[in-house]
């Protein structure tokens, strides 16, 4: 039997939220996601994170691809670039490389990232581009109304897999670990506080941060990756998990039946912009890590 919890009073909650200031990061546009979509938690998480980190609106660029995440930049009061399907990471790399002072956050889904975009992920990760990649895994193509995706589970029936999906799904966490990402974490839209906390950590990390967010598609997946199923399946990482231990991280990443939530792996190493400065010095030039914004 579900526990009865304290009633939450809307007005008080609203005041509380307004008090934090995180709503200022929201634009006037209303989101177009389906009610119950994990992107709402994500929005909450990102606004909280930006607020907690005290980042100026003008210094944040949110880059989205094509998918349900596309519209995210429009809902935020920051600079944004809604790019092409699968091409968020190159654009984000270009933005960060051209202006070190910007905080670049990339949002996209599993199709955008691992189907068409799969070829770009290894390079953003191995170069340690100092951006944050929030990857929403709902195991389906939502915007185009329900096709199978690279992370769909076996047996999943969709419009393009009417005889059940027979392709083994990718294991994104293992891939990102092997690509050399310097921060790899996993979160769940059904646990919004933890999600927010992990988003803060991901953005704060200096280097390429990959946060894999399990986020059910309430409209097109009623059987497989649902809140019901995931609520039972997810677990936190063991308390003694050492995020600097790659083997331990891989071991946790391999477990897709009971996904582990938290920071799987973390290391500090020079970012792409750092190496660019090193190259500039090696060439005898002066690093222009300052790029003055037009007054």
């Amino acid at each position: 039997m579900a526990e009865l919890r304290e009633p939450i009073y809307l007005e008080e909650k609203l005041k509380e939220i307004q008090g934090t200031g995180r709503l200022s990061y929201r634009s006037k546009s209303l989101p177009t996601w389906c009610p119950g979509c994990g992107y709402f938690s994500m929005t909450e998480g990102v606004t909280s994170a930006l607020n907690q980190l005290g980042l100026a609106h003008k210094d944040v660029v949110i880059v989205s691809g094509i998918g349900c995440a596309s519209r995210f930049p429009f809902f935020m009061d920051t600079y944004g670039f809604h790019t092409l399907h699968g091409r968020t990471l190159p654009v984000a790399t270009g933005i960060k490389l051209a202006n070190d002072k910007l905080t670049v956050i990339v949002v996209g889904g599993d199709g955008d990232g691992f189907a068409i975009g799969g070829g770009h992920i290894p390079h953003a990760a191995r170069r340690n581009v100092d951006i944050t990649y929030l990857l929403f895994d709902n195991g389906v193509y939502g915007l185009t109304k329900g096709q199978v995706s690279p992370t769909s589970v076996m047996g999943f029936k969709t419009k393009t897999s009417p005889y059940e999906n027979r392709d083994a799904p990718l294991k994104p966490l293992m891939m990102l670990l092997s690509y050399g990402a310097s921060w790899v974490g996993q979160a769940y839209a059904g646990q919004p506080h933890q999600l927010t906390d992990l988003i803060v950590q991901a953005i704060a990390h200096r280097g390429f941060s990959y946060l894999h967010i399990l986020s059910p598609c309430v409209t097109f997946d009623k059987t497989s990756m649902t809140y019901q199923n995931l609520n039972l399946a997810v677990r936190d990482l063991p308390a003694n998990h050492d995020p600097s231990d790659m083997i331990a991280a891989m071991t946790q990443a391999m477990d897709v039946t009971t996904p582990a939530l938290g920071v799987l792996y973390r290391e500090e190493r020079p970012t792409l912009n750092d190496t660019m400065d090193e190259i500039t010095r090696a060439a005898g030039g002066k690093p222009s890590t300052e790029r003055a914004a037009v007054a």
Binding site: V63, R87, A92, I95, A98, A283, G284
Partner: protein, 598 residues
């Protein structure tokens, strides 16, 4: 009057130092004050003994192409050079090694193939090289020296060039090469000359001219324009742009990244352009094909970016080491939808420099992608260029946030009277906005109503229309006879060089002739082209593609009828071929006139 016009082809096998000899010849003569145009042919294979040709045309007056026939052929390897003997004109010279080390069957020595009207000059290249440097390796220097001595080329300029080339290596190496050169020079000087090739005095006593090819000129333009970020993916013939910038751009604090593919390259360049940085990429036809989706994004999001495209034989993988002009359609129209962008096509090496720099200005000014379209021939053609640094490019032509009224909510895509919106860049307060590939309203919010799409499409097209009237860049130019002419040529890219020479020759034969180069292909200077066509009885459009892509563009935009002259040989257009066509048209006109008069 002694007008110099000597074209020398040095032909050898990979490893013979053919290209190096050509390079020294070019630089020395440029240094001595002559005008030089050169083109090298490399073997297609990486290893092996493929054929190399270094071809140089040395003149006192400015010319615009290489001649169909050379005046001199220097053979460093008869096996390869024999096939090129027919390319030497009558009463031209063939220089070869007359003391090979192994027995040859009949016909294996080049002397068997020298035509009755050609003059043979043999010297013991290998022997002289071994005497000078105890190795046969400097045969190329011996041959070069012989050539120089034969025609009285300025020895000092060669010594300086050779020494400069080996600066940083052991002194003995430079000395050995100079000695080998001198040994050849002495032989050449003493040789009894039977050809009628004369080297006249240089137009200038000496010069700071440097030999540069199109790709290098592009890089110079980028450096001068303050390029900040460059992203590229290796592809022939654009790879050297990436390589040169990788070495040079960091010296002035810029950043170069070799991406995982062309899509990433253009994506990153657009990302960088979005932040207000000057950004570019370089590729060839196949890469541009991959980039077209991103191009559309750049157009739709009104982000400045520059793409250098060096065309090669197509379609598909095509002919990576051969030249062609068949990507015009792709450059001007490639990508989904009405994606209007600016396309520039320089016609010579200096033009590459100017178009490169201006491209950044145009991209910023009109907030749109700019493609600079050249071809393999122009990328690799060397020309003596001087005074590059005199052209300055504006550091920032962006209409910025300061043009926006401060108390109004910022609209990134506001409609203004010149259709260009004030542009905020990330990091600027008061300019927050999101750009998107979706159709959008003035705020930049996705919107697909009929009125919005009509309005925004018009904006994206109209804003670039004034580009044809650039104050500092010739988007088109007319040469030759003024007023009404019988035959008018319209050409673009490197083919314009051959067209110009053909026109000048036609005029000297009494044909009323003019030529127009079109440098801006999009937007197209329609009025100028129309009025040029009105002056011409017949219009001839030579280009290196089969479908007549430029002719189609012209006729589509102006309605003018043109004669097409299409070649897809993988080689540059020949002046003789264009001239033949001009003569043919002139004859037709003459006949018509006589008929009408009668």
């Amino acid at each position: 009057m002694s007008d110099t016009d000597i074209q020398i082809a040095i032909c050898g096998s990979a490893g013979d130092g053919t290209i190096a000899a050509g390079s020294i010849l070019n630089q020395a003569m440029a240094r001595a004050g002559y005008k030089v145009i050169a083109f090298d042919v490399y073997p297609a294979e990486i290893r092996g003994f493929g054929e190399c040709i270094a071809c140089s045309r040395i003149t006192s007056a400015q010319v615009f192409s290489l001649k169909g026939q050379s005046d001199v052929l220097v053979s460093l390897n008869d096996g390869h050079a024999i096939a090129h003997v027919p390319e030497v004109r009558d009463y031209g010279a063939v220089i070869y090694d007359d003391a090979p080390i192994s027995t040859l069957k009949e016909g294996q020595h080049i002397s068997a193939h020298i035509k009755p009207a050609q003059l043979p000059y043999g010297l013991p290249m290998r022997e002289l090289s071994e005497r000078a440097t105890s190795a046969a390796k400097s045969r190329n220097m011996v041959a070069l020296g012989y050539l120089a001595g034969l025609y009285g080329m300025p020895r000092k300029a060669f010594h300086e060039t050779i020494t400069g080339k080996f600066k940083g290596k052991a002194a003995a190496i430079a000395e050995g090469n100079v000695q080998a050169f001198d040994a050849g020079y002495a032989e050449g000087e003493a040789a009894f000359r039977l050809d009628f090739i004369e080297l006249g005095p240089a137009p200038e006593t000496s010069s700071d001219a440097v030999m540069m090819n199109g790709n290098t000129a592009i890089v110079e333009g980028c450096m001068e324009a303050g390029l900040e970020t460059f992203f590229g993916y290796p592809i022939t013939p654009a790879t050297t742009i990436l390589e040169m910038l990788a070495a040079r751009l960091p010296k002035q604090g810029g950043r170069v990244l070799q991406t995982e593919d062309e899509i990433a390259a253009i994506g990153a360049a657009i990302g960088a352009g979005y932040t207000g940085a000057r950004a570019a990429t370089a590729t060839s036809g196949p890469g541009l094909a991959l980039m077209t989706e991103m191009l559309g994004l750049g157009v739709m999001a009104e982000v400045p970016v520059v793409i250098f495209v060096s065309q090669r034989g197509g379609p598909s993988t095509g002919m990576p080491t051969k030249t062609e002009q068949s990507d015009l359609n792709l450059a001007v129209f490639g990508g989904s939808g009405d994606a209007k962008r600016i396309v520039l096509a320089p016609t010579n090496v200096e033009g590459c420099y100017r178009c490169a720099g201006r491209a950044f200005e145009l991209a910023e000014q009109y907030q749109t992608p700019v493609i600079v379209l050249l071809d393999l021939y122009l990328s690799n053609r060397l020309e003596s260029v001087s005074g590059l640094g005199k052209t300055r490019f504006a550091p920032n032509l962006s209409k910025g946030l300061d043009a926006w009224a401060p108390n109004e909510a910022y609209q990134r895509f506001a409609i203004t009277d010149d259709w260009v919106s004030p542009r905020a860049i990330p990091g600027e307060p008061g300019g927050i906005h999101t750009v998107t590939g979706l159709e959008h309203n003035q705020l930049g919010r996705p919107k697909d109503t009929p009125e919005i799409h009509q309005l925004m499409t018009e904006k994206r097209h109209q804003k670039v229309a004034p580009a044809i009237r650039h104050a500092d860049l010739s988007t088109y130019k007319r040469f030759g006879d003024e007023g009404e002419v019988d035959v008018g040529l319209i050409a673009w890219g490197s083919t314009f060089g051959e067209a110009l020479e053909a026109m000048l020759q036609a005029r000297s034969e009494g044909i009323r002739c003019a030529a127009m180069k079109v440098v801006m292909l999009s937007p197209l200077p329609v009025d100028a082209i129309r009025s040029f066509c009105a002056d011409c009885r017949e219009v001839l459009v030579p280009e290196l593609n089969y479908q007549g892509q430029f002719a189609n563009l012209l006729t589509g935009a102006t309605g003018c009828e043109v004669h097409r002259f299409n070649r897809v040989t993988g080689r540059p257009m020949q002046v003789e071929d264009i001239l033949g066509e001009i003569r043919r048209l002139a004859k037709v006109i003459k006949t018509e006139r006589r008929f009408v008069a009668a």
